[in-house]
Amino acid sequence: MRKVALVYDGTLEGFLTCLFTAYEEKLEVQDISPEGEAVGMLFSGMEEVITDFVKSGRVWKALKKKSSEATLKQIKWAFLSEKKGIENTLFLMIQYIFSETNPVDGDYSHPAVLEVAQTARKVSREKHRMEAFVRFRLTKDNIYFAAIEPDFNVLPLIKNHFKNRYADQYWIIYDLKRKFGLHYDLSVVKFISLDLDPSIGISGGSAAYFDEKELEFQRLWKEYFESVNIKSRANSKLHLQHLPKRYWKYLTEKNLLML
């Protein structure tokens, strides 16, 4: 068997094409990484895999036959973690699933299956946090705008949630880290990429971009947040556990200085 390290374009389809190639050419895969992150390995050749939708589709179909809906979701979500080396873990898990005749996708005592499940859970937590902590601000052009910097690439996962919920308003959720966003125009959600003025920020409501009343509503919300606190029950440990500091940047109630 030929030893190789595979490089792909960072998409799920690209990754699945790697699996197809590995099986077809009987490769001994040392590593699978997205472009730009691959580290050259002395003992194996580096090969670039060109994404092929037919091949990736076949792998997915084969996988579907041997695993539950929940597992397929876990695989997708773990993939979106963009965690270093997750491709290799996914590869091990999928190899294990293909090698057994009985379904084993729920066998959490297999290390790769467990790691994928745990990673998917982390992604799921981040997804829920984004659904909770996204704060829209109304812009001058009547668009509800939110900027986020999620740990994982969750925009594709939160799309439907926001589409169902905010069906009658224009909105944009923009991932500042990955430099793309979702834009809803009252009929469909599209991926967009914008040249954003950094001063637009994650919170606040600079007069250059936002509706004149925007800050007033942020103040009302902060007033509300402070009024519901019960001092005699203060429990900052619990508070921080639910609301880790790194998410505070999104939250008006935690940032806005009372003017």
Partner: protein, 432 residues
């Protein structure tokens, strides 16, 4: 005068300073109602309206005491003709009073919802004029939100004790959840602390709502287009530690509400002293947060773990142990049922093992399909066994800590566990 304060009609320009002041007063007065749930509804956004409450409820923030903020929870007004001793809003209390206009609540809800601050509205009120008059105003808010704003977010309305059947019927057409807070778990306590209210006034709206829910369910089985009626059901709340009640009193009442009125949730709210009334704990007394969480644990055991309330609390066992959780407490009183074999025990029995939760039971059931599990496997699938290990075995031959007395075992477990309540507990103990 009240009529003028509460007048309806559009509010062309929001006066932000005035609204802010009202929000301060009327959110502050509503915060003692601990229910924050916004789940369990199934109101989908069809026809491109605003909002959707078909999923799990979301906590959009957390207060500094760690409670979930998911709804705009306010009173319509804190004017009240009653004088319930435990309540900040009581007539005789010297506090600032305020009242929202119906339209103001609608506007606030919509503006907050559109910014993704909240899942919806939780509207309660002091009783002004009479029960029906108050209930009618609450319904107006919900109705406007649904019909004029096409709002599909979550609406929780407080049922005002004594409100007419007719109004309760209407309320359920617009609200996702209705609740009447019983507040005081015993009849005698209620007489003492809320002399204006009588037990029947609480039960009446509960009964009405329950019957309506049942009727709507039956009809919707026959006719697809039956409107929804309070799809997230009803809930109630009891104050803990205000009237000298036992844990058994509280949990038996809770059990009664779950069984008799199909309650979705019962909430337990540690009494926060708000008065110098000699009938009640004095200002500055500690809020019984530990007791409150033991009650919630008990509530979970009833709802998700298959326990009967009489197993956990009874004539011989009136109050929960504070230093250990109710499941461990039960297990220590029933040592003859343990240890159980993790590979063969029935699911119901696994659920009763201290330290193993619903999720862990699921993992065990799943993993043991593939192989006999040993301690190493348990660790690998993420089962914490520091507590469970005294109550389970992985193979028939294993010897468990059988000879140790329950009292001794409890000490071992307590010494080994960094209980998150340890600190609270010792600080409460030091009071004695």
């Amino acid at each position: 005068m009240l009529d003028k304060i509460l007048n309806l009609g559009q509010n062309p320009k929001m006066n932000f300073d005035r609204i802010k002041e009202k929000l301060n007063i009327l959110a502050d007065a509503a915060k003692y109602d601990v229910s924050c749930s916004s789940s369990g509804s199934n109101r989908k956004n069809t026809g491109k309206g605003l909002g959707d409450s078909s999923g799990m409820g979301i906590c959009h923030s957390y207060t500094e005491d760690g409670r979930c903020v998911s709804l705009l929870k306010i009173l319509l007004t804190n004017h009240c003709i009653f004088d319930c001793a435990y309540c900040v809003t009581r007539k005789s209390n010297d506090v600032k009073r305020a009242a929202f206009k119906v339209q103001e609540v609608v506007d606030l809800t919509i503006s907050f919802y559109r910014r993704n601050y909240i899942e919806g509205l939780f509207l309660s009120s002091g009783i002004f004029k009479d029960a029906d008059y108050t209930m009618e105003r609450l319904i107006q808010v919900a109705k406007k939100l649904r019909l004029e704003e096409n709002f599909n977010g979550y609406i929780h309305l407080k049922s005002i004790p004594g409100a007419s059947d007719e109004l309760m019927r209407e309320a359920g057409l617009y609200a996702d959840r209705l609740s009447v807070n019983i507040e005081i778990p015993t009849k005698s306590g209620l007489k003492l602390l809320a002399p204006d209210k009588n037990h029947e006034d609480f039960l009446k709206p509960m009964k009405k709502v329950k019957n309506e829910i049942m009727q709507y369910k039956q009809e919707s089985r026959l006719i697809k287009s039956t409107p929804k009626y309070a799809p997230a059901g009803q809930s109630t709340q009891m104050i803990v530690g205000a009237s000298g009640e036992s844990d058994r009193d509280i949990m038996y009442s809770a059990n009664y509400f779950y069984k008799k009125f199909d309650m979705k949730r019962v909430y337990y709210s540690g009494y926060v002293p708000v008065t110098t009334d000699p009938r009640l704990p004095s200002i500055g007394s500690e809020v019984p947060v530990l007791r409150e969480s033991r009650l919630y644990q008990t509530d979970w055991l009833l709802r998700f773990y298959g326990f009967d309330v009489r197993e956990l609390l009874n004539q011989d066992f009136l109050n929960l142990e504070m230093d250990i959780d109710p499941k461990l407490s039960w297990a220590l009183r029933n040592r003859h049922l343990f240890p159980v074999d993790i590979n063969t025990a029935e699911q119901q029995m696994l659920l009763r093992v201290p330290g193993i939760g619903v999720r862990s039971v699921g993992k065990i059931m799943q993993a043991r399909k593939f192989r006999r599990l040993n301690w190493e496997h348990l660790k690998r699938i993420g089962i914490a066994s520091n507590r469970a290990k005294y109550f389970i075995t992985c193979s028939p031959g294993e010897v468990a800590l059988k000879d140790s007395s329950s009292e001794h075992l409890k000490q071992i477990i307590l010494n080994n566990s960094a209980s998150k309540f340890r600190k609270t507990f010792s600080s409460q103990l030091s009071l004695f």
